[in-house]
């Protein structure tokens, strides 16, 4: 396959260096970026094939790429381009649209197209040659030489302009026709509620406590175990005829794709999205989940490794990711009332594309082995085909309510057809009819357990209940429990106690037990006992008088008064309530930033002076551990309006206090560097030196010092053979130490030289 690919540099990652890059989250810009990597000659050729002459300079690749993208931005032109696509090209575009994935691996797209009966190579090349697909410039770069068969295992990703795929009309394949079966019995169809309920449970669990991710994006062991031990999330799907592997993994990935949970700004935590999600998406949620599943790549129906595979072999099952939408498209081509047995469907696919049920793309790397040989090498071919269909269609697809199953009456073979939701998700039918409302579906018990009958549940109600009732069992009947934590959670999501009780009352078959009402109200009132502010604003006034004056006269936007704190602060919960029109900000400190230097050390080494414009609330707590505040010196006569400088002194007692509280010399050094920009002064180091218990005391001795009238005379005394033997160290220009035991000898020698010495 000849893939037109860019040869420019791989763009840097935005999160790593902040440089202008391909924004992976913006498919349109990623598409444009990748096009702009192509040479101007290739881009002009693409434009020519699309039937227009670029206005940009012939060698301005970026400008030509922009024109190619602008063309697709125009809905009329995009629609006209779509109209001119042949059936197979339309299928390719539809695969991008159905899965809501603007990026497909070339090998995956080729596999899906082949399953749909298209010549994948021709289709992909045709779209690439008109710039309707482009090789992702951030992926592996491939040459223009054509491999013998299909894209390679390490093939590139292909991008589409979202405007081209989002409006694509779906025409499911009908040729060759699928053999339909006559009559069926034992029809089994899920109501589609189970995945929504379990996603809701996952959402409320992450709302109560987010899960932490390792650098590789996996869950930490503790969180993995927490999820695995939660039967509501990790148990098998009750509604599906076949098991879906790793239900918790499936739910986690679906929740991410539909936006129910997301990475927080640190990219280390998976957190629940705001409760608004439920009101904004309740109507379309089943279809959103279906689209998410169709395009899900981080979870597979078949994730086991082959028994013979080495530890480095890739997990099998990747082709099933791309088989999924193709299979659903084949079923969408049937009339709504038609059934097909899994056996007939497998046989049908065999005739369309014999490799449809492959479990790995690895085979392609061994191009020397004939395909027939590889197929013959596979054990239990029929078993694998059947298992593949069962896993995709009777597993997750059935649990999501997209496929219903039955037994063929005459043979007992398993048959399938799309449900109304499945046909809607595949865009071949209008939305399924809404079931009649069933208002009274709850049974609230005095022990605070609440039973819910499935008939009354809707995505919107599931969202509302999930905010304040803990899902404990999902079965034919659903069980919830009200707890202090769940009620606090509901309040945290912004739901009032009144609204919680209203929901329970409205849908409960029995009057709400008074014990339940009392408990909910009691727990709700308990919650205001403690308020935790993650990012409050404190306004600090110069004096208590100013603060009290403000509290008396100022109100927040909603008319509520501000909360006074301590002597000189008011607390503002929402930064938008800071009365900016009434204040003049003399200094500001953001506690998400590292602490500022705000301390000056005076010459004595132990007195610390605070810069009032740079101090923060932390400095008092930090200094209070090892220093004592001294009375302020009073206003600066040169600038009486300047805030008074506060001073602290480090004393042996204050420092001892700090050491008892866990302060160490290294912590002290770190503090001085952060707050004063300097090492601790020697005077502090003197006090902070490690304890020397048992060490020798410092020695202090009386010394006899000879003072001589001049330097020259002392030089003489130190040189003369009669005197020099009786001297110690010279202490200065005219002073020398005299060991006491030699004092008499020195005095005698000097006397002989005519000098009298007086010892005092």
């Amino acid at each position: 396959m000849a893939l037109i690919s860019g040869s420019g540099p791989t763009p840097p990652h935005p999160a790593r260096d902040g440089a202008p890059t391909t924004p992976a989250d913006d498919p349109r810009r990623a598409f444009r970026w990748s096009l702009s990597r192509l040479s101007p000659t290739v881009l002009r050729l693409l434009a020519e094939r699309r039937g227009f002459e670029p206005e940009a300079d012939a060698d301005d690749g970026a400008a030509i790429a922009a024109e190619l993208v602008d063309q697709l931005d125009d809905p009329t032109i995009a629609a006209a381009i779509r109209e001119r696509l042949d059936e197979n090209e339309r299928s390719a575009v539809a695969l991008f649209g159905l899965t809501e994935n603007p990026r497909w691996p070339a090998r995956g797209l080729a596999h899906a197209l082949s399953v749909l009966g298209a010549s994948a190579e021709d289709v992909i090349n045709g779209l690439l040659k008109r710039g309707l697909l482009v090789v992702a410039a951030d992926g592996p770069i491939v040459g223009t030489s054509a491999p013998q068969r299909g894209p390679s295992v390490e093939g590139p990703d292909l991008l589409i302009h979202p405007a081209l795929s989002s409006g694509a009309r779906i025409r499911p394949p009908i040729d060759p026709p699928i053999p339909v079966c006559e009559a069926v019995a034992q029809i089994r169809e899920a109501d589609g509620l189970e995945p929504i309920l379990r996603l809701a449970a996952l959402w409320q669990r992450l709302g109560a406590e987010p899960v932490r991710l390792t650098q590789t994006g996996a869950l930490y062991k503790r969180d993995r175990e927490r999820i695995a031990e939660d039967a509501v999330i990790s148990g098998p799907f009750r509604d599906a005829p076949a098991d879906a592997p790793d239900p918790a993994g499936l739910l986690m990935e679906l929740a991410k794709r539909i936006g129910l949970i997301h990475l927080d700004s640190s990219r280390e935590l998976l957190v629940a999205s705001p409760a608004d999600f439920w009101t904004e998406n309740a109507v379309h949620l089943p279809q959103m989940i279906a689209s998410a599943w169709l395009g899900l790549r981080s979870w597979r129906e078949w994730s086991e490794t082959e028994p013979s595979a080495s530890s480095t072999a890739p997990a099998v099952g990747e082709p099933l990711i791309y088989l999924r939408p193709a299979l659903m498209l084949w079923l969408a081509g049937l009339a709504p009332e038609d059934w097909v047995t899994l056996d007939d469907l497998a046989e049908h696919l065999n005739t369309v594309f014999p490799d449809w049920d492959r479990l790995s793309f690895r085979d392609d790397s061994d191009a020397t082995e004939p395909r027939r040989a590889r197929r013959e090498r596979r054990p239990s071919r029929g078993g694998q085909a059947k298992q593949t269909l069962e896993r995709v269609l009777l597993g997750a697809a059935s649990a999501l309510g997209l496929v219903r199953s039955a037994d063929e009456k005459t043979t007992g073979r398993k048959a399938v057809q799309l449900t109304a939701l499945g046909r809607y998700a595949m865009r071949v039918d209008s939305p399924p009819a809404t079931p009649p409302p069933f208002e009274k579906f709850l049974f609230a018990q005095p022990n605070l357990d609440v039973i819910a009958y499935r008939q009354g549940l809707t995505p919107r109600l599931i969202g509302s209940l999930s905010q304040f009732a803990w899902w404990t069992k999902i079965d034919a009947a659903i069980e919830m429990r009200l707890t202090r934590e769940s009620i606090a959670g509901g309040l945290q999501w912004g739901m009032s106690v009144g609204r919680m009780l209203e929901i329970l009352t409205r849908h409960s078959q029995n009057p709400l037990p008074s014990a339940l009402k009392d408990a909910v109200e009691r727990w709700a009132s308990h919650r205001e006992r403690v308020v935790f502010y993650e990012a409050a604003t404190l306004i600090e006034f110069d004096s208590r008088r100013d603060r009290d004056h403000a509290v008396e006269r100022w109100t927040k936007g909603n008319g509520e008064p501000f909360i006074p704190v301590g002597e000189r602060f008011i607390l503002v919960e929402d930064p938008r309530d800071v009365p900016t029109g009434r204040i003049s900000t003399t200094a500001a400190r953001d506690y998400r930033l590292p602490p500022e230097r705000c301390v000056t050390v005076e010459d004595d080494g132990v007195t610390l002076v605070l810069d009032p414009s740079r101090t923060d609330l932390l400095i008092d707590a930090e200094l209070g551990r090892f220093a004592d505040e001294t009375p302020a010196l009073g206003p600066d006569p040169a600038d009486p309006l300047r805030p008074t400088e506060r001073r602290f002194v480090i004393t042996p007692a204050s420092l001892r206090r700090g050491l008892e509280l866990g302060l160490t010399p290294s912590l002290l050094t770190d503090w001085f560097k952060r707050r004063a920009g300097t090492e601790p002064p020697p005077a502090v180091k003197l006090m902070a030196r490690p304890s020397q218990g048992g060490a020798k005391p410092w020695r202090a001795v009386h010394r006899l010092v000879l003072h001589v009238p001049s330097v020259e005379l002392l030089d003489g005394v130190m040189q003369h053979p009669m005197t020099r033997s009786w001297l110690g160290d010279r202490l200065g220009p005219t002073a020398v130490e005299v060991p006491e035991e030699h004092a008499d000898q020195l005095r005698a020698a000097l006397r002989e030289l005519g000098v009298e010495v007086e010892i005092s």
């Binding site: 202090r484 934590e485 009620i487 606090a488 309040l491 945290q492 727990w523 308990h526 919650r527 205001e528 006992r529 403690v530 308020v531 935790f532 502010y533 993650e534 990012a535 409050a536 604003t537 404190l538 306004i539 600090e540 006034f541 110069d542 100013d546 004056h549 403000a550 006269r553 909360i563 704190v565 301590g566 602060f569 607390l571 919960e573 930064p575 800071v578 029109g581 009434r582 204040i583 003049s584 900000t585 003399t586 200094a587 500001a588 400190r589 953001d590 506690y591 998400r592 923060d616 609330l617 932390l618 008092d620 707590a621 930090e622 209070g624």
Partner: protein, 74 residues
């Protein structure tokens, strides 16, 4: 300009992590828990505790361990 209309000079402390108790006795109860107290830098008033800026998650976890269901203002 009269005092009523003059802008009052203030210092702003933004993104401060705090715990506010409904009553002083509740704050005492919180501070009596050693594992929470070590996350508190200072007591700004009878009812308001200043939490170490990088210990917000740990402080919330401690409050929950104590059986508190704090309102969390983000």
């Amino acid at each position: 300009m009269t005092r009523a209309h003059a802008r009052v000079p203030v210092k702003l402390h933004r993104n401060v992590t705090l715990i506010r108790a409904s009553e002083p006795i509740v704050a005492e109860e919180l501070m009596a828990r050693r594992s929470l107290a070590r996350l508190v830098l200072a007591r700004l008033s009878d009812t308001v505790l200043l939490v170490k800026p990088d210990e917000a998650d740990a402080a919330v976890a401690e409050l929950k361990k104590m059986g508190q269901t704090p309102r969390i203002a983000r």
